[in-house]
Subunit: 243 residues, 2 copies
Amino acid sequence: MSVKSIRVCLSPALLPYYDFTDTVAVVIDIFRATSSMCYGLANGARAIIPVAEIDECLAYRDTGYLLAAERDGKVVDGFDFGNSPFSYTRDKVEGKTIVLTTTNGTRAIRHCQAADTVVIGSFLNISALTDWLLRQDRHVLLVCSGWKNQFSLEDTVFAGAMTLRLRGTGVPLDDAAIAAQSLYLEAREDLDAYMTRSSHSERMRYLNIGKDIAFCLRENVVNVVPVLQGDQLVSSEALQPVS
Amino acid sequence: MSVKSIRVCLSPALLPYYDFTDTVAVVIDIFRATSSMCYGLANGARAIIPVAEIDECLAYRDTGYLLAAERDGKVVDGFDFGNSPFSYTRDKVEGKTIVLTTTNGTRAIRHCQAADTVVIGSFLNISALTDWLLRQDRHVLLVCSGWKNQFSLEDTVFAGAMTLRLRGTGVPLDDAAIAAQSLYLEAREDLDAYMTRSSHSERMRYLNIGKDIAFCLRENVVNVVPVLQGDQLVSSEALQPVS
């Protein structure tokens, strides 16, 4: 079990420069969109519909779906909730479909639609994701959502954690994967302390959501791999034919 | 003597997302464009005109200027030379104006023109550049030329070396500057060995230009800081009024 190559795209704005042939794109927005997506699907949400803009989200009003919108780290006025993982607990999301727009993560997902397959990564599902990717025998492109198209430390460190787990003898890495892996090897001794250095984490501390940050850095809280099917993210298990 | 902040832009394609107010942009293309620019001006070239496209370069035919064009690591057919530093020795360039187009570096320069000031960085002029920047009291944006808009290890490691030299107490760093500095701290023990891991260095080894690579990693070979004045790069000394 192996992957064909590992590349890391450090910003959604760089996606046009990547070849998506035979590629699984893994979208990463650690603080907090992709962490919350993993948590929500693990807690029984039927599906999550990622949309790029607030207007697209509003178009789902009166459908019975939960509407979630975050901009600049805050819940957008008039919405049920934003992207805090604690809004995606079982009591809130079980059996529901959620329409979500965020500053970075949901836009990154939309820009990956040229890939054969788009899946969602976070520390919360890191082992499940690793196992799933190793069964694919395809190229892996780890897509960091960043912050307003700029580089973010936490997404890149996670890409490095994935690179370390996925790489095998002779698997080609691009320069960004080499760098991400170096950063993760430095960070992993004390991930919380390392992330404190990131500008986004500082932004979030200012928003008083330190509890969210600590939660988003926990490994293997869930077993799901969210997969994009049409315009919806569903759990990979939901994709498997019933035997 | 200090700078106001240090940011690192990891690809020219990300430049539209940066604020250039009160900013000096430092363009970096270690293998080999900006190394050769520093070397050429130190060796008495009158000026270097960076142009983005081969056609723009050809427009300077019959002006007496030296025309240099590189694509994919090779000299373009019909041109005097490409971007090997050994084409920029005193016997070849003294007193001449050079028009240069390269795959990555010259395009990055063109995309930085919104900055107050654009200067050129390489290991060859690292101390001169550091001293010059510390006298500016402005924001510094280190612009990695990368490879075809993707991240490159050698440019980022150099940005990290600059971050380490420029940072003082309380100088804000963005996430990319933090990451670049981490990579440099890992790489600096044995820069040659570290760079061997980069994909571009591998490309260049294939082109049999290992001698160029080794030269481009030498520190403080020259004392010049190339500064963009209009459409020409000139030595910063040439800008100073004669006393």
